[in-house]
């Protein structure tokens, strides 16, 4: 008879060894599947993936930019997740944040100097994102509604809202696109640091990572978040106002998502579309979980996902494979990485008691 038992505690080196083993196993499995399905040499495919991610300085910059945005969204979700509030509304919060930034650029672009406009964009996008998270938070705090559904539904509202404004502001009329905003004046475009297009975004997110780590690990707020997440009853017992903590934390979570929207609109894209969030609100959920809600570990987990996605793009062009093949490989690797957590938490016991028990 086989049964599954919970492990007491696995020493860190052993846990790391299991994770490493899982990655090796994943690479082998991907290799076998690549060889069978495409007839290509898996080593070539892996080499192409690395080249796709790190091949040229430009590719490295794009990778880092993608990493920064994904990490930013993951950091936004983290305080909520630590509180066991499953904010799946990152997508919508990014969109409304981006929309707020874009509307500042369009409406005030020619009236305010950048020194005023850009701070205003920061504030308005953070407020928009916070508002989008505030609604589900209030309902959760007051009536204990299901935050997963509520935040998810808010995404669709945000998408429709952006779709509406894209039609309002489309250039030229009938194109269904806004196009690059303020192309000639560059009003509201975030400044470039040292001539590198993406550097500012990367620096801002790096700073945010450190701040978030400190906030969660050392501040009173961070401590309250952990207590509420682990045990709302204990929180009440020591006089923590659970409702207040929920609302406050979600304001923060939504504001950072809105900030990510600003980075996308003001920092790189200089336009807004309904797909600008690109599913990061959901990918970030995976990043946060993989890192067990630790902001520093999240750098590694978002790097993994961004690397896989850049690499997948490369192999689809280099070998003429469908882009989905890259997704399949990503899926296999994630399956192994997430699956190995099972063996870290549980062990499988083969008991020989069967004979005795049937007596």
């Amino acid at each position: 008879m086989i049964h599954i038992a919970k492990r007491k505690e696995m020493p860190l080196p052993q846990a790391l060894a299991i994770r490493l083993g899982a990655i090796v196993a994943a690479l082998v499995a991907c290799g076998v599947i690549t060889a069978i399905a495409t007839g290509l040499n898996p080593v070539d495919v892996y080499a192409a993936m690395v080249k796709g991610a790190f091949g040229t300085p430009r590719k490295v910059w794009i990778l880092l930019q993608e990493l920064a945005i994904l990490l930013c969204v993951s950091l936004a979700l983290t305080p909520a997740f630590r509180m066991r509030f499953w904010n799946l509304g990152g997508e919508g919060q990014i969109l409304v944040g981006g929309l707020a930034a874009a509307s500042c650029m369009i409406i005030l672009g020619n009236r305010l100097p950048n020194a005023l406009l850009i701070p205003l964009m920061f504030v308005s996008s953070a407020c928009a994102g916070a508002l989008w998270a505030l609604l589900p938070a209030l309902f959760k705090a007051r009536w204990n509604t299901n935050e997963t559904l509520f935040t998810l539904m808010m995404n669709y509202v945000a998408t429709q809202l952006v779709a509406f404004f894209v039609i309002v502001w489309e250039v030229p009329k009938g194109s269904g696109n806004i196009g690059i905003i303020n192309q000639s004046t560059e009003a509201g475009w975030l400044p470039q640091v040292g001539g590198y297009k993406y550097l500012l975004n990367i620096l801002l997110v790096a700073i945010l990572t450190v701040i978030m780590h400190i906030y969660l690990a050392y501040s009173k707020h961070g401590y309250e978040i952990s207590v509420v997440g682990e045990s709302p009853n204990t929180a009440r017992y020591v006089g923590i106002k659970v409702e207040k903590v929920i609302v406050r934390t979600l304001l923060l979570s939504g504001a950072i998502c809105g900030f990510a929207g600003l980075l996308l609109v003001g920092g790189t894209a200089h336009t807004i579309t309904t797909t600008i969030a690109g599913g990061r609100g959901f990918t970030a959920v995976m990043v946060a979980w993989l890192a067990k809600f630790n902001p520093i570990t999240m750098v590694a987990s978002s790097l993994l996902l961004v690397f896989m996605s850049c690499g997948a793009g490369e192999i689809s062009t280099a070998f003429g494979l469908n882009h989905s093949f890259g997704d399949i490989l990503t899926g296999i690797i994630l399956f192994f990485i997430i699956g190995c957590e099972f063996f870290i938490t549980y062990r499988i016991v083969f008991s020989k008691k069967e004979g005795e028990r049937d007596v």
Binding site: S219, K220, Y223, S226, E230, S231, Y237, G239
Partner: protein, 503 residues
């Protein structure tokens, strides 16, 4: 049906040791015992939820193996748990046929017909089309019973079925149980209410601390005899009981009534006074309002009517009702609370000792950052003084054993120099040494002049440890006795409400 030498242990705790029990058709057997005496565990083994470590079960002379609830169903054994297992959004009929595997099980119309037939023959009042979320607690219980009968159960086990019922509903349930008995079914009812035993059962079997004490025909026994069997003879524990020092009124509770979320009255017009330098014990069967009482004082439980006053040394008094724990602390009331569910309320299992030490104090100091220096010292001090065995103070508390978890909690709660210490089942699950350590700690607090309210379940301990004992029964105070003069039987009878009026 016969159970022979059934034993079951969970970890180091022996829940049942060599219990033998006979159950007959056409008879209602009451299974009587104190909390934690192993009644429910024993019956869970009959219904296939647990598997006995050793022992045999025979039905109609045939040895049987019950390894799963399905096995139990196949043998005609059905159990109704304290917490109902119904799907809220389904109708009664849908719940009843749920899990059946026959081809025609899902013919709802036919099922409704059969359900009505069962209801008519025993006098149930069930509408097969009613949704479960629309039902009262007693209706849900009826659905559970019909569910078992529908599956052809002829051995029915009911785990404290009356705990959730009003007296009228209880009478109705008992009438139905008698009908079923007369129909030749075997019925086991788990209870600790003596009155019900006398009311309904034909035979009574008593368990104490996991062991079988004896069985007798209900008609030939008395509440006195049953209480004796249930609580056992008095044992001397030699717990210190220093005389109270200069007792002064500290907490005055008057006329407090509390309802839980379902609207059931958990405390009914409770009044008492807790004095400084004294241990006030609270005795009672579990679920008689002890938890609500402590939580009401601690500001965690809304109170319907009544008043809870804290009296300062200078005679000034403060109303505690309507205030949360933080507001109570802001009044200068140093109140410590060691709750029953240590890891669910009181400590955070995934946090380490240091972080748990600062649960109450983390707001101290200006600035947005927490200061872990003080809590770390406190954690080290508690580990050293209370001999907490842990790898380090950075170990999550959920990894500690029950006794050590309790030491951490008590250590933190008394570190704030309280004037009131509330404790619920402070020694539950603790080994003997840890228990005595906790008694000593509480006695030290008493000598410091703290008003201690000690909810306990072991009468022997309460009688040796407390200065006065308040006995709760069904949310009402059935009396307050002096811990030095009272006897175990006296308190035991008051707990089952046969004291006062009848004894």
């Amino acid at each position: 049906m016969r159970m022979r030498d059934i034993s079951k242990s969970f970890g180091q705790i022996q829940a049942n040791s060599a219990v033998s029990l006979d159950i007959y058709r056409g008879e209602i057997l009451a299974l009587l015992g104190e909390n934690g005496s192993g009644k429910t565990t024993l019956m869970n083994m009959l219904s296939g939820i647990y598997f006995p470590d050793s022992g045999e079960i025979e039905i109609d002379g045939e040895p049987v193996v019950i390894a799963s609830p399905k096995d139990a169903f196949d043998k005609g054994i059905g159990m109704i748990h304290q917490h109902f297992k119904l799907v809220n959004v389904f109708t009664a009929a849908e719940n009843i046929i749920l899990g059946l595997e026959d081809e025609d099980a899902f013919d709802i119309a036919a099922a409704c017909g059969r359900i009505r037939a069962i209801c008519d023959s025993y006098g149930f009042d069930v509408d097969p089309d009613q949704k479960v979320y629309d039902m009262s607690v007693s209706q849900k219980q009826t659905v559970e019973i019909v569910k078992l009968l529908y599956r052809g159960a002829d051995i029915l086990i009911l785990d404290e079925p009356t705990a959730v019922l009003t007296p009228q509903e209880t009478d109705r349930l008992f009438a139905i149980l008698r009908n079923m008995r007369d129909d030749g079914k075997a019925i086991v009812i788990i209870t600790h209410k003596l009155r019900e035993v006398l009311d309904i059962s034909d035979r009574v079997a008593v368990l104490r601390k996991g062991a079988y004490v004896g069985a007798m025909a209900t008609a030939e026994t008395s509440p006195q005899e049953m209480t004796n069997m249930m609580v056992g003879h008095q044992v001397s524990l030699n717990i210190d009981r220093p005389a109270p020092v200069d007792p002064k009124e500290r907490i005055r509770v008057s006329g407090v009534t509390v309802r839980n979320q379902e609207g059931v009255v958990k405390l009914d017009n409770v009044s008492f006074t807790a004095r400084s330098g004294e241990i006030l014990g609270i005795a009672g069967i579990s679920g008689c309002g002890q938890k609500e009482l402590l939580e009401a004082i601690a500001g965690l439980q809304p109170v319907e009517v009544g008043s809870i006053e804290y009296i300062h040394d200078n005679g000034r008094s403060e109303q505690l009702i309507g205030k949360d724990p933080l507001e109570i602390a802001a009044l200068g009331v140093a109140l410590s609370f060691v709750p029953e569910d240590r890891l669910g309320m009181g400590l955070v299992g995934n946090m380490d000792l240091t972080d748990n030490m600062m649960l109450r104090s983390f707001r101290q100091g200006r600035g947005i950052f927490t200061d872990r220096k003080g809590p770390r010292h406190l954690a080290e001090k508690v580990v050293e003084e209370l001999e907490v065995s842990t790898d380090s103070i950075s170990t999550p508390v959920r990894k500690l054993s029950g006794g050590n978890v309790q030491k951490v909690l008590v250590g933190r709660e008394i570190s704030s120099s309280p004037t009131v210490l509330l404790s619920a089942y402070a020694v539950r699950g603790l080994d003997v040494n840890s228990s005595y350590l906790i008694y000593d700690l509480i006695n030290q607090q008493k000598e410091r002049g703290v008003a201690v309210v000690y909810v306990g379940e072991d009468l022997d301990v309460l009688l040796e440890f407390c200065d006065r004992i308040l006995v709760l029964c069904g949310g009402k105070v059935s009396g307050i006795v002096d811990g030095r003069g009272a006897t175990k039987n006296e308190v035991g009878l008051m707990m089952t409400k046969l004291g006062g009026e009848e004894a």
